[in-house]
Every structure is written in C-alpha cells, then in structure tokens.
Subunit: 464 residues, 2 copies
C-alpha cells in the first residue's frame, strides 16, 4: 500500500475520532441539562466551584496517563465547562458596578451640568511634574512624533534601569524591561504571558477588578482568596496555599492595595513569595501605589521570587494617568513574549510621551510631595469616618482609598451607592465591584481635601 493510501485511511480515522469527540460533547450537554433540572428540583445553587476543581484534577491525571499535553486538556475542559454552563442556561452574574463604570456614570451626569462630589475617581488630582510637561512638549515640537521600538526608546529604557537600581538596588538588563501604554496593559501582558486558557491564577479580594476581568478575557479562572476587615484586609499564606489548584500558574499581589490601602509586612510578603517558589508559581506584583505609603512597602524586586513580573506605572506616583505609560520588569523570556504581543497590538507608546516619562523618573521631590499629600488625605478621611458610627474601617497604610464597611449586616452597597448619588450628589464605588463585599464601598482620595471632607460628611448624613 502506498503512503498516499495509508494517509487517506489514517485521515479517515482522524475524522471519525473527531466526530466521536463532538458526539461526547453532545452527551456531556445532555448530562449538564439533567444536572440543571435536578438542581432546580433540589433548589440547589447553580454553580459549585468544587465541581470544576474535581474536573481539573480528572483531566490533569488523565492527560498525564495518556500522554496528552496538559495545556491542551485544560483548554478543552475550559471550552466544555463554558458549553455546559450555556446549555444549563446560566445567566452571567448580575453586572457588577466597577469603578470604571461609576466613573462613566458620573461623567454622564456631570455632562448634564449637575455638580457632583466625586469620591469614585481612580486618579489623583495632582499635576504632573513641570519637567515632564516641558520635556513632552519639547519632544513634540522636536518632531519626536514617530513610531519607536516596541520596548521603548533606548533613553527611557535606560532611565528605568537606572531608577530600579537607585530605588530597589535591582540590576535589570534592557531585555528584562518593556515600556507599556499604561499599567493596565502591563497587567494584561503579565496575565496573558503567564496564565493560559483553562489555567488559573490566585487573586486576593478585595481587589482592582482588572485582574479578574483580565483572566476571564484570557479564558483563565481567577481563584479568589477572600480577606476581611478583621484580618486587616491581608491574606494568610495558608489561605493562599489552600487556593492552589493543579492548573494554577500565578499569584497576583498589589500592595498598597486598591481599595483597602493595606500593605503586607515584609515577613508576610516573604512567606507568600516562598510559597510561590515552592509551587513554581509566578508572582505578579502590581506596584502602582508603592509611592503612596506611610511605611516601606516590600517590592517583588527584592523578595527572592524565582518567577515574577513587576508591573509599574507613571500614573499615580507622578500623576500621569492621562499619559498612559508604565513599565514591566520580568525575565528576558517573559518580556520577549510581551514584546510580541505589544508590537502586534500597539507598536509602541507615543514617542514624545516617552521623552516626558524620562523626566518623571528624575522628579523625586514631586513623589515626596504627592505621597505626603495623600497621607494627609488619608488622615483627614479617617477623622471624618470616625464620626460615622454606622461604619467601620481599617486605616489605610497607603494607596489612595478608604474601604469602609457598614456595621449593619444586611447593608446593600449598590442601593446605598445609588441613593448617595441621587440624594447627595456624592459618588463612591460599591464594594461588590471589588469582590464579595456587599457591606463595603470605596472612597477615593483622588479629589481635593474639601471634596473628601464634604463628601464623607454627606455619607454620614445619609447613614444617620
């Protein structure tokens, strides 16, 4: 028999096996429908994450036994799980109100002429350093208006290298750095180069929604470690350990935290890093708020993490949110994967903005000024909150938010947020946007001292 005939026969077998796989998906769908019906009969909850955990274990074991790549097995499982949910008629959960949605809503209302006290905004009202404005404008008029290499202009890459050396005594090679169009894109690159579809990453609740949303966009599963006010909003290494699944690839940390302002102590940080090292997990550390802090905040760069990604941004430290520029530090291998994605999606950060960013890295006095101003605001906000007996909170050590929680156990943060907006013209972000926190809401300290004080007093009035 010729090779051609051999191949034709084998291909027919491949087609038959492929068909059988589709048939099994159909069988699986029938089972899923029966499960949905049984759940309705038993008035049982629609979703149980332990079921997914069990299937992940089954698939990993079977892949190992049968020599199928684990990545392929997990990806197929992820597709199957989504299909089961579809045929079971799962409604996606009630749309959460994220800080970004609150901001869009507030902007709409302001556009109608109504004045609001904005305690929702995720950016400081500080001005960027004058040197940054000058350097950006000078570059613009100097026709630095062209594409740049994806990693960033060499002068900025070198300036970031110098900054890391100075600030963290960390020696990076150019190939371990990339300049990104904002911290958000850095976070997306970090997640998408570390966690694949069907895999999972651990996130600590309450947290900035972009971590979970980013994982979902990739088709990966966020595994939440819930923390409480009683714990000072800090996770234990044990809780993180218990959250590790056979398909877990990363732990996402961000301290000072958004929305709580909590900071991990160096020993606690070290404990989590050791755990990650033991399990060959990548620590993704989003250190965007690191310069708004009243005590030293440990950095992943000096933590001994074996696999790590640092995402950083010019947005908060130098009040450059609207410049959309940040940077990422990791292994040469990971940065090289990021380069491919960033060059495909965006080419580069605007050239003249990169010249401005160089000057930011030299603007130390503004960092001190901004940080001190934020500590003052934290203190002011806390004195105001102390006068509201219906609320409890943990005093933030950094970042630019307070995350108070109602003492009333049946408090509904979403309806409170809406009522506060309607009746008092004050915007906050509901706690449910940051995790399972129906009794909490986030107060941003990005606005003026007066906005903060007046806004919190109105919160007190509504709660009285």
């Amino acid at each position: 028999m010729s090779s051609d005939q051999d191949i034709a026969g084998l291909r027919q077998e491949v087609a038959d096996v492929t068909k059988e796989i589709i048939d099994l998906i159909s069988t699986r769908n029938e089972l899923a429908k029966k499960i949905a019906a049984a759940k309705v009969r038993g008035a049982l909850p629609a979703e149980d994450p332990r079921v997914e955990d069990a299937l992940v274990r089954v698939v990993v074991r079977e892949c190992e036994e049968k020599g199928v790549s684990k990545e392929v097995g997990l990806k197929v499982l992820s597709t199957l799980l989504a299909e089961s949910k579809r045929v079971q008629g799962f409604k996606s959960k009630q749309q959460l109100i994220t800080p970004m949605m609150m901001s869009a809503k507030a902007q709409q209302i302001e556009a109608t002429g109504r004045q609001l006290l904005r305690l929702d905004v995720g950016e400081p009202n500080f001005h960027p350093p004058k040197a940054v404005l000058d350097a950006t404008s000078e570059a613009l008029y100097g026709f630095k208006t062209h594409y740049t290499g994806t990693r960033g202009i060499p002068a900025l890459v070198s300036a970031v290298r110098g900054y890391l050396q100075r600030k963290h005594s960390f020696t990076a090679k150019d190939t371990e750095l990339i300049v990104n169009p904002g911290g958000r894109f850095g976070v997306y690159l970090a997640l998408s180069t570390t966690v694949a579809e069907g895999e999972s990453a651990i996130v600590i609740e309450p947290n900035w929604p972009a971590y979970k949303e980013g994982l979902q966009y990739i088709g990966a599963r966020p595994i939440s470690v819930h923390t409480t006010l009683e714990e000072g909003w800090l996770p234990s290494a044990e809780a993180i350990h218990d959250a590790i699944r056979p398909n877990t690839k990363a732990i996402v940390l961000s301290y000072p935290a958004n929305p709580t302002g909590a900071i991990l102590s160096p020993p606690k940080f070290k404990e989590i890093v050791d755990l990650a090292n033991d399990h060959r997990l990548t620590v993704i550390s989003d250190e965007i708020y690191t310069d708004y802090a009243n005590k030293p905040c440990p950095s992943i760069l000096s933590s001994g993490a074996e696999k790590f990604i640092l995402t950083a941004s010019f947005s908060k430290t130098w009040a450059m949110t609207g410049f959309r520029v940040g940077y990422t530090v990791s292994s040469e291998e990971t940065i090289s994967k990021m380069m491919k994605i960033q060059s495909l999606l965006l080419t580069s950060v605007p050239e003249f903005i990169q010249y401005g960013a160089i000057k930011a890295l030299e603007s130390d006095s503004e960092v001190v000024r901004n940080s001190e101003a934020m500590i003052v605001r934290i203190n002011e906000a806390c004195s105001e909150l102390d006068a509201i007996s219906a609320l409890e909170y943990v005093k933030p050590d950094g970042a630019m938010y307070v995350f108070p929680q109602a003492k009333k156990t049946d408090f509904d943060c979403v309806s409170f947020t809406m009522k506060l907006l309607e009746e008092k013209g004050v915007t906050v972000s509901p706690g449910t946007g940051f995790g399972d926190y129906p009794r909490a809401f986030r107060i941003s300290l990005g606005g003026s001292d007066d906005t903060i004080v007046q806004g919190i007093r109105k919160i007190g009035e509504l709660l009285a």
Copy 2:
C-alpha cells in the same frame, strides 16, 4: 433518590465522559504520529490545508446534527489541530522578516553609528500639522492629563462624526464610533470582535502582516487569496468566493494596499461587498492609506456593506504615527464589544493627544500636501525602477510603497535584502513578509526624495 444523589451520579458521568474525550485526543495523537511517519516515507509535504478544511466541514455537520454549538465544536477542533501539529513535530515555518523586524534591525545598526538609506520604514517623514502640535501642547499645559472615557473625549468623537459626514456623507451615531490607540489596535479589535478561535477570515495577499498575525493571535485561521503582479495585485470576487469556508466570518480589505499601492475599482469593490452580504460576512476595511491616492478610493462606508468595520488612523493622513491614535466605525453592537476590550486593556488614548487629534480633522491643506508629495515620490520611484531591467512592478495608485518583483524566477528576496543591507546600506522589506512572494520586496516611500532615488539606484547597482 434525592436531588443530591441524582446530581452526584450525573456528575460522575460527566467526569467519565470528560475522561473519554481526553482518551480520544490521545487516540487522535497516535493517528497524527502515524500520518507524520507516512508523510516522511512518502516524502509528502507536512501540511495540507485541505485536510483542515475537510475537518471543519465534518465538525460543522456533526455539531448541527447533535445540537452542539458550532462555536464550541470549531474551538475544540482548533485545539485538536494545534495538538496534532505539535505531536507531528511541526516546526513553525521559518521566521518571516516583517517590516517591523526590518525596522528594528535597521535601528540597531543605526545605533552603532552606521548610516543607512532606509527604504523599509512604514511611516512618512512628513511633519504633523502645526495646529495639532499646538493643540496637543496646549492641552498638556492645560492639565488635560487624566483618564478619559474609553470611547474618547466627547469633542473628538463629535469631530470624527463631523469628518465622516463631510468626507463620506456618512452619518454615524456616537455609539457607532470608538477612538483607538492607533490603527493596529483598531485592527485587533475588529478581528477579535468578529472572528473567534477556530473560525477563519479571508485576507488578500500580499498584505500588511498584522492581519494574519492578529488572526493567529486570536486562534483563528487566515485564508489567503493570492494575487499576482499580472492581475495588478487585485483579487477577483471569484477567488474570494472560493476561499469561503463554513467557518469564515470576515473578509479583510485594505486599499490603497500595503505593499502594492493597488486600489480596487468601485465596481470590483462593490462585487466583493455583495459577495460578503450574500454570505453574511463582515467586511473589515482598513482605510489607513485612503488619503494617499491618485484616484478616488472606494470606502466601506458608502459600499452598501451590511456588516462592516472601518479602521482608520491619523498616522498616515496627518503624519501622526508617533501619536498612536485612530478610530473605528461599526455597528453599535460591535463598537460596544470593542469598548469592553479597550477599557479592560488600555482605559483610553492619552487625553492631550485626543485634543491634538481634533485639530488634525480640520487640517485639510496638510492632507492635500501630503498626498501630493506621495504621488510625486511614487512617480520618482517608478522612473528609477524603470531603469532596472531585472525588476518588474505595477505602478501604485496610492499608499506609500512600491512592490517590485525580480524577473528571475529563482530570486530569493531574503538573501537579496540582507546583501543589500550589508553591501549597499539600503533597507527594504522582503516580499515573503507580505505573503508567498519570494521574488518581491517592498520599497517604502516614507523617506526623503533623495533617500528614495539614491536607495533605488543602489538596488539597481546590486542587481546589475
């Protein structure tokens, strides 16, 4: 029996079926290995796209028969195909040299001090309009340095709306528009909101590599329609028709074309749009070069396309590559999907840049000046090429490139490109970066008239 017991039993069945699916993947892998061995014995080519086509048909039919969602079946097939290739030991094809890679290489060489004649750059050396620089700088000093809504600042969205009305007599709602950080990101959003993993889209070769790379990033398959110099680098509706598969969702067009400068005639454009309408395909029209043209270039906005996405950019028309700003026009539903992705990945385009972009839309005289300058360059380049008997080419009607082809049938564009760089210090982009064109290379007209003339003369010297 209780619901709990029912469910436990059903879940066991689900786990068993899942295991069986993994086992079938293992069986499929064994078959793939046998096929690979038979190919080696028969000295047959490793890849045959018709095999994939046949499997797509099998899966679509089986999904329809068994009530499995087609999207799920195609996505699983896509995972299976990738796994088969892996176990067959497919090497990914020889790394292509894209224009972006040539540019990175040239920049590296220039950084060592060596002067090059750059005929590889994908951007014009024109200056942005003065009004754009002024408005950007003014916004910067006016502290327009904050996050904006994802769609773009209302003044820019409204200015784009006015521009589309004026230029194309097209009435867009705000909700049918989004401002993007560059045309590349617009193209990614267009592809990723239209074509899913396991689906396919038609691209016309030769083309800008980002279309194929973007599809591959999504896990979708680009189906190439090859065009030739003899056809004037234009596809026939028949060839496009023949390329449609049961999983095809979109046709990507971009005229004037990069790298050929060809423009579809209005009737030919209409024919393709009709074909797309007949097959419920989305036409993605990248009109980035539309203002560099010596004759009117049909726009998707006035084509009668039922499902379409226009991607546009400020980069070429107003020489604003380094601003990274563009916009996309589509249905409210598609734009709303794009908004979700853009807000997750990037928040927004830098605020002060958006103020500059408003002024670009009012800078008509610069558009005329840039377009006329480019036509002059096309003419100059063509007269120079006429003197090189080893090359043939089709005179471009627009864009900013010429795509000559060696008459010698065994010409190797990659080694020619490397030799040209080493011996003559001239950079071009090899034809294989744009499709299956080993005899061709792209000359960019982005540099000065002198660079173009000198560079092409040196090409002639090397070929002589």
